[in-house]
């Protein structure tokens, strides 16, 4: 069998992700096979013969190998499982029916009594405001939900609970939220930047637990914002999230 340049590597070892490791091993095997079939001369293979010999069908075979082994892929963009439900893990926590009992559950969320309130987690404050932000928790997790809000309007007093740190999912409705709690990203993520621009109080990288659709929540946007230097130096600087009243 033909040996690749990277097959001998004093310091390299397996990829951190099993998926990446499996994909890369499979692609390298394709390269070895095609290189051997072309005569084994790298210089005439790498930027010439390989263009015709290594194909999209070969790459589709790499994914199929994992699917055949029973693997279903994680999804991040809603369009992905929508188009290929057989390839991705099921979509959960998005439909109206799911929402009745759905909540983000982060193992590092700090929970418990806090004065006369109930702390349900903490996050990184994007910008400081004079008073803490209180409103009704509503999960926003899919383009379908955004389209619904776009057509029907965002209910007053909504604190959006989001797990997408990007700025595009909620683009047409972001300025209508009273506040945002995002279970991902950092204060320098796109959603953090935009909420600051709009003057919408926001916690990023929120680790929360037990907050249900319709709960009245409050978060500590009077806390110090978390800066780039804080992230770089691993400074522990968080703002609290409380549940003021349960929707039940």
């Amino acid at each position: 069998m033909v040996k690749l340049y990277v097959d001998s590597d004093k310091f390299g070892d397996a990829n951190a992700s099993p998926t990446v490791d499996a994909f890369h091993a499979a692609v390298k095997e394709i390269v070895r096979t095609k290189l051997a079939a072309s005569g084994g001369h790298w210089d005439s293979f790498v930027f010439d013969k390989s263009y015709a010999l290594i194909t999209a069908e070969d790459m589709a075979g790499v994914e199929k190998m994992m699917l055949d082994a029973g693997h279903l892929f994680d999804w991040s963009a809603a369009i992905s499982p929508q188009e290929r439900p057989d390839v991705y893990k099921p979509i959960e926590g998005v439909s109206d029916a799911d929402m009745a009992k759905f909540s983000f559950e982060h193992e590092d969320a700090v929970t418990g009594p806090d004065g006369n309130l109930e702390q349900r987690g903490q996050g990184d404050n994007v910008a400081r405001y004079p008073t803490d932000c209180e409103g009704i928790a509503r999960y926003v997790r899919s383009p379908m939900q955004v389209m619904k809000f776009l057509e029907e309007g965002v209910p007053d007093n909504t604190i959006a609970i989001i797990d997408d740190s990007g700025g595009t999912l909620t683009a047409p409705i972001l300025d209508q939220f009273k506040g945002v709690i995002c279970a991902g990203g950092s204060t320098r993520s796109h959603l953090g930047i935009l909420t600051r621009e709009y003057g919408v109080p926001c916690l990023m990288n929120a680790k929360i637990s037990g907050i249900r659709q319709g709960d009245t929540v409050r978060f500590e946007c009077t806390a110090d914002p978390k800066t780039a230097a804080d992230y770089q130096k691993n400074v522990d600087r968080t703002a609290k999230v409380w549940r003021v009243a349960s929707a039940d």
């Binding site: 390298k28 390269v31 997408d164």
Partner: protein, 517 residues
């Protein structure tokens, strides 16, 4: 145009690669891997890196047949198009090197492959950067402690003098703030969740307690991107620049990814002055928008805010109806096309060059499901856990102290007989899942066809970079202020200034401040 394969050249190339390792790692670790429920972001990023690897060398060589990297950098100081930053400044070297690194880990190429391409791309980056940042004397923002003073005094004085004062709660402050929020959000959507439609440079010291940041919003109108055809028809200006004066804070960080940080924190009440401009490679520098009076500026901010909001809502609905392959194309083209404006400046722009996925990159699309895309990107730019990125245990990487390196240097063994290949070859045909691009380009001279745009670009030389002015730098001005030649140079920027028209080249910053409203 091949560089000589010498020890000195390789040392420089590998140093340029390492500079990008250090800074890119810092940029990545101060953020998280960007995911989106709308766009398959990591997957399109990975596709774009392959497009960059296979096409940038050929496309840059094509651009340099008409205009050198140095002249492109010089011209770029006179306008705010996307290629400047974050385009060439970060995207060009890093997208190219990320594509190379990924292919090395797939076993598809070796570290000794395409080395003339690697040397050329890094050399182009160096030459452009040195010219772009000529006024501050650095090659990158990190060299300058994360700041960028692109403007000459000639330009800074006009921005300074023409700022309209504002205060939190007044109409101008609110109108400017509202526009910048909408334009930022629209920019993220245009750029498929990436931040490359908005950028900042500065700070520039205005008074003892105030600094100016210059914010650029780019690619807003119908121009290069097929997904903006129709929905952005009502957006009048493709590139918009907002000058912002801030008091009682210091911007200690203005990085290549469009972020700034201030101490104390920059909050709304600290914004005390704004100005508004448009520009591109066909304009004579920055063209004021609504700057005739305070009232017209407020009206202009509000008008533009309405335009971008309408376009944003229409674009969101369009993209929400896209297939995954269309989203993948749009995102990959946005990233890969981060330096496309170089081709506009040189007048050699071709839709097939920049708006299509090279068929060599396209082969790898079936790998790019959400999970693999997320994990491989995370390993490539954050964890640095690909085999090629691991070093001897003695090594301590900048910022992490880990035995890792984001990009593989060219092995010096190619100088002692190890085989290598020079180039990945010419541009191959491209494919697209997007609608055919409408032949409309919004410029500072109005809407025109691509043929007209290329012709106009080839015919135009901004006065500031005309042969008689190009090398009249701020050091020359220091010793020649008040001369006819210096006054003529300053008149280029002062021509459209409401405060400095005809004021010549001898004014100090204090004089300019005294002339303000």
């Amino acid at each position: 145009m091949a560089l000589p394969l010498t020890y000195g050249q390789l040392l420089e190339t590998n140093n340029l690669i390492q500079q990008n390792v250090d800074e890119s790692y810092w940029l990545c670790v101060t953020r998280t891997v960007q995911e989106s429920k709308l766009f398959p972001v990591p997957s399109y990023m990975m596709l774009s890196y392959l497009m960059a690897f296979y096409r940038y060398p050929s496309l840059l060589r094509k651009i340099e047949t008409r205009m050198s990297a140095e002249e492109l950098g010089d011209r770029s100081r006179e306008m705010a198009m996307k290629h400047r930053a974050p385009g060439v400044s970060w995207g060009l070297p890093n997208f190219y090197l990320l594509g190379r690194e990924w292919l090395i880990n797939l076993g598809v190429i070796k570290p000794t492959d395409a080395i003339e391409d690697v040397m050329y791309v890094m050399d182009f980056w160096k030459r452009f950067q040195l010219a772009l940042y000529r006024n501050d004397g650095h090659m990158s923002r990190v060299q300058y402690g994360h700041r960028a003073q692109i403007l000459s005094e000639r330009q800074a004085q006009v921005f300074h003098s023409d700022l309209y004062a504002c205060a939190e709660g007044d109409e101008l402050h609110e109108a400017a703030h509202a526009f910048m929020a909408s334009a930022s959000q629209y920019g993220f959507l245009i750029s498929c969740e990436s931040r490359i439609s908005l950028h900042n440079h500065g700070p520039y010291k205005l008074t003892d307690n105030s600094e100016m940041i210059v914010r650029d919003f780019m690619d807003l109108a119908e121009s290069d991107f097929p997904w903006l055809d129709g929905v952005a028809e009502g957006v009048e200006y493709n590139n918009i620049t907002v000058t912002m004066a801030a008091k009682d804070c210091h911007f200690y960080l203005v990085d290549d990814w469009g972020s700034f940080e201030a101490e104390p924190e920059f909050t709304a009440e600290k914004l005390v002055g704004v100005g508004l401009y448009t520009s591109d490679n066909l304009s004579e520098g920055y063209v004021p928008l609504g700057m005739e009076s305070r009232e017209s500026l407020i009206a202009m901010f509000r008008k533009l805010d309405g335009q971008v909001k309408e376009a944003m809502n229409n674009l969101w609905k369009r993209i929400a109806g896209y297939s995954r392959d269309q989203m993948l194309d749009a995102g990959a083209i946005t990233y890969f096309g981060i330096v496309k404006d170089l081709a506009h400046v040189a007048g050699v722009y071709d839709v097939d060059d920049w708006m299509k996925v090279d068929e060599r990159a396209e082969r790898f699309r079936p790998l790019l499901n959400d999970e693999y895309g997320r994990d491989v990107l995370g390993e490539l730019v954050g964890l640095l856990s690909n085999p090629s990125q691991k070093l001897s245990d003695y090594s301590m990487m900048m910022h992490s102290n880990a035995p890792t390196r984001m990009y593989t240097p060219i092995p010096y063994s190619v100088l002692s007989g190890e085989g290598y290949t020079p180039t990945c070859g010419p541009v191959y045909p491209g494919v697209t899942n997007l609608p055919e691009k409408k032949d409309v380009y919004t410029t500072t001279r109005g809407k025109m066809s691509l043929a007209q745009y290329n012709k106009a670009s080839q015919d135009f030389t901004p006065a500031a970079v005309a042969p008689e002015n190009r090398f009249l730098c701020d050091t020359w001005v220091k010793y020649n202020a008040g001369s006819d030649k210096a006054d003529a140079l300053y008149a280029i920027s002062q021509g459209t200034s409401r405060k400095l028209s005809g004021k010549g080249s001898t004014l100090s910053r204090q004089d300019v401040e005294a002339l303000r409203d």
